[in-house]
Symmetry: C2
Subunit: 201 residues, 2 copies
Amino acid sequence: MITLYDMSLSGNCHKVRLLLSLLGLPYQTQAVDLRCGEQRSPDYLQRNPFAQVPVLDDDGLIIRDSQAILVHLAKRYGCEKWWPDDAYQLAQIAAWLSTAANEIFHGPAKLRVHHKFGSPIDTVAAGQTTDKVLGIIDRHLQNQDWLVGDSVSIADIAVYPYLALAPEGSLDIGAFPNIIAWFQRIRALPGYVAMPGMWQA
Amino acid sequence: MITLYDMSLSGNCHKVRLLLSLLGLPYQTQAVDLRCGEQRSPDYLQRNPFAQVPVLDDDGLIIRDSQAILVHLAKRYGCEKWWPDDAYQLAQIAAWLSTAANEIFHGPAKLRVHHKFGSPIDTVAAGQTTDKVLGIIDRHLQNQDWLVGDSVSIADIAVYPYLALAPEGSLDIGAFPNIIAWFQRIRALPGYVAMPGMWQA
């Protein structure tokens, strides 16, 4: 059985919910109450010493980090579209997983946590990171439908949630038409699931 | 032919130099002069729109991002030790690649760029991130020799350089005995190469 240690408002958790749904995998969720500090309980720290959601428990195999969970699910349950055998394609996917862990997290995700939950952040730095990464992704999608190759991959799934949640970070995504067209391709995938607050046409 | 777009003082570049050397792969370097803004030239931005080093050119295949380059080299040229076939092991490696892209970069690497080059950073935030990640890694290495499984992997290579460069960030690595023992295991690998400024016994 697959159990997702989950927090409903987390875009990192939504990456996992989205891929599980696209792959048609049954799973249960275990809510982690971050406001009550449940992520710092001894039990939870055993699962993830970083005290973050999500964590996946796949029949006793415990995996922390949203990108790592996507890798596990794609390799274990996906067809080659989700986990190509080619080194160069895997490397291109890995580059976007780094972007998700770094620039997306420290840009649009931080702006959202600031505007939605009032967390203190360096809004100038987060704004600069956001402008840079949105511009790069919009230009990247000018001549291709997906971030890597000619079909959806976990690169798209890792990058999508915090871009689609941009309105909650007071970001005007309307200036990025190629990103919006890509949103629409993702939303048309069989099994797609949204989360509240995501951009809508 | 493999060409590494390189900057000698970059720990991210050193991840790639180290793996190339451990794998015994011949390569040439092309220095990128960051102080003169060469990373923002139109030619370079074609290779990496993020305007960062390193970039790898492997017979015309262009790869940005140090973690992604490690994935490419491990999958294309490494034996199974470097690129296991098991989904769970790959996911554990991917989790540390995220840590390298996020916490290691925004913690010890930022402190180094501040103390060595005078870059303005939020030293409080970088210090907190550093304390957290060093503690987690030291405890993780208490009962195991390598970050994932029972042999060296690209997880170790991605995390090592900016931890070994901690003295340049005014960090006292002496408080983390398991990290120091792991440094020594890495330094004993056949083909190991150091870079100036790294921790020495």
